[in-house]
Symmetry: C2
Subunit: 213 residues, 2 copies
């Protein structure tokens, strides 16, 4: 007889909460499914009935971390706000959430960051999803006349470079004291105005640099 779905969900949730507690207390680097099994008093094969592979467990933990961040991005993208407001909310609301999570439990926050470094193949899809939502905002802004002469991918890449402290969680926590709502607005305004301006003619004799791609 198949287990009722509600029981399965409750067990999965219990396993994820236990996994969270383990990485919080012992760090994420050495965390394994067998450690989770031991902590729950379950056999490893029983755990695999709820998460069919260790990758499925990492994915469920990532899904738990990113769920609310994705809701924010969808909410912002689907709002009828002007591009400037969307840009500010897109980064600012996620900074707020990450700041709140860090304040609530710094050790857990750092363990999730460590887990993400260990299993970056799982995080990669969420990074790409963030770029996807940002690309929608950039396309909206282009319809309003921003970023003339630039394509969407290039614009997204340049915005990501200039916005790192507002989107890279490790960097954000390092720079938290220097980041403010006012500076976020100034950076967004700089991007919107500066990436919409014609670059000055390059009439210099600076020696070439080798940063080449």
């Amino acid at each position: 007889m198949p287990r009722p779905q509600a029981d399965t969900d409750a067990t999965r949730e219990m396993l994820l909460e236990t996994a969270e507690q383990i990485i919080k207390e012992r760090g994420a680097i050495s965390f394994t499914v067998s450690e989770l099994a031991a902590a729950c008093g379950m056999s490893q094969s029983n755990i695999y009935r709820f998460f069919p592979s260790k990758e499925a467990l990492w994915e469920a933990m990532a899904e738990r971390w990113f769920r609310e961040l994705i809701e924010i991005m969808e909410d912002v993208v689907n709002s009828g706000d002007p591009p400037r407001d969307k840009m500010i909310a897109f980064f600012g609301r996620r900074v707020d959430l990450k700041r709140a999570r860090y304040a609530a439990d710094p050790a857990l926050f750092e363990s999730y960051m460590e887990l993400g470094s260990e299993h970056f193949e799982v995080v990669r899809g969420y990074v790409d999803l963030g770029d996807h939502y940002l690309a929608i905002i950039v396309a909206d802004a282009m319809e309003d006349g921003y970023f003339p002469g630039l394509d969407i991918d290039r614009t997204v890449s340049l915005i990501n470079i200039m916005m790192q402290p507002f989107c890279n969680p490790e960097l954000m926590m390092q720079m938290l004291d220097t980041l403010s709502e006012e500076k976020l607005e100034q950076v967004v305004d700089t991007i919107l105005a500066g990436l919409s301006a014609r670059p000055p003619a390059d009439e210099t004799n600076r020696p070439p640099l080798s940063i080449a791609h």
Copy 2:
């Protein structure tokens, strides 16, 4: 009889090279003066004749790492180039140097980064020195009419936020594939044009964010 200065310098250099080798092979986190003493076959008290404290040893290692980076910054600041060229060279030439160091020896590069995290009080002065040089370039740019209505400290802070991938070495190595000379120029042009533009009037009803400082 005092030791000849040349002998002292040679021994200090040998100790620094050995220290470099140790952090490269075993990481910087557990590195101690007694480990250095053991590796050189010297007593700890003998090492203290060359570096009077462990702090003096960390400082000498930091000086070794930053020497050439400071030369670049001084060279750029003292050049007669226009502000745009100075900004590009200020960041670009240091990216080139760090990229070359990373390519030459990734393990040593990462060990120095780890050493810097472990002893950030030593690195702090060099970060401030970088801000000092950037402030001189910003002041030059202001004389040319850039950044109207902004003060130097605020401008330096905003530039540091937008330039993180071009100055934070850990982030730089993570993003190396996406950074290019052309993007550096586009970011500098965005900063110069965007921070010199009047921000648009804020006529929105966006909910307030809590990023507040």
